[in-house]
Symmetry: C2
């Protein structure tokens, strides 16, 4: 039995993946988990491209690498302003991020989640702020897939930096013009211990009691 | 033990909720599950307001009801164009949606997920399409909360229609100007059987092999 709370509480970003292939039955369970996710009006407006050929993985890596290293410059700047313990953690994440960027093509599989906004009722589309609701019919599936990956002993991490070069990604994977790319999830067996303890704020910080700003206890 | 795949495969939209209160330890497990979710840069840019006072629940119901019935008009139009079996299912959903709108204030608890875009690196913000990536650091938590709700025997449903009247919602829950509302999740013990079998497209439809449009098998 795979206890749901154990999986949730140990799902961490795993960026160091072994090239060993993922058996089809394991991959199928990850994809099935994604398929079970709720979406607005049950429209399931997303698809997932299971990228596994060396050519397409290399194409993604060639796009992702430069995007990561451009992003990492700003990351290093912010790192300088952090208190020492946080800076140490951020530095480790930077190194793990470099590793992912340098070895992305070696992941056995890369999941690319795409979605068609025309299949969604995006209720915040006309508000005077950036829209985010479209993600509500996609990241539920991404989260299910990552929880299933963790359950199957696979490492994974949700990345969105590829959006900085979305046109190139769409060309590489033959994604139609009117579809959007929402998440890239490299998937494989971990090099190290993989999943394990995570650092998160507790409900006492994240939850409010009846109105914004009133601490939940 | 609560098997993760059993929970995922039986998490369905439950809109008929009993007014019975939710014990604190049960609610805490739902909130803890949300807190465990991954977010971009581990920033956890979301908060959840646990709405349970009769006054604030009524305020949300007074906002949500009219928004639902406005939306439902368009729903009825689309319904007329569906094949008979799909129309029957859609008609049931319409009735369940009416029930939710009419009884929202009777739910023991309503979770309102909010987020601060300033705490996010939204990588698709400047693309020539509607942005959706901001949701990637919020709906992972919403999905964890719903899976936990299902695990605890609570009914729930992810709704976003409240965004059609977001300013009123923000006023009702004292949400600061620069925060956005992403999901409203009514939570309570089900009137009927609650969770159970779900209808979803299979991976053979939702997953593609190496490039868009190539069926996964």
């Amino acid at each position: 039995m795979n206890d749901i709370y154990e999986m949730m509480s140990t799902l961490r970003a795993v960026r160091r993946l072994r090239p060993d292939p993922i058996p089809d039955d394991v991959l199928n369970r990850v994809l099935q988990a994604a398929a079970w996710a709720p979406t607005g009006g049950n429209m399931q407006p997303w698809r997932v491209i299971v990228v596994s050929s060396p050519e397409r993985k290399k194409a993604l890596a060639d796009i992702y690498g430069p995007a990561w290293y451009r992003y990492a410059k700003g990351y290093d700047e912010r790192l300088k302003q952090l208190p020492p313990d946080e800076a140490e953690k951020a530095r480790k994440n930077r190194v793990a991020g470099d590793y992912l960027a340098d070895h992305l093509a070696d992941s056995p599989t890369i999941l690319m989640f795409v979605a068609d906004p025309k299949m969604m009722a995006i209720t915040d589309a006309k508000l005077d702020r950036i829209s985010m609701v479209g993600g509500g019919s996609v990241y539920t599936a991404v989260q299910n897939a990552m929880l299933a990956a963790r359950t199957e002993g696979l490492g994974c991490v949700l990345t969105t930096l590829h959006c900085l070069a979305e046109e190139e990604v769409k060309a590489a994977l033959e994604i139609p013009d009117d579809w959007a790319t929402l998440a890239m999830v490299p998937l494989g067996y971990p090099v190290g211990t993989g999943h394990g303890s995570i650092t998160r704020q507790p409900p006492a910080v994240l939850a409010y009691d009846d109105a914004f700003g009133i601490a939940w206890s």
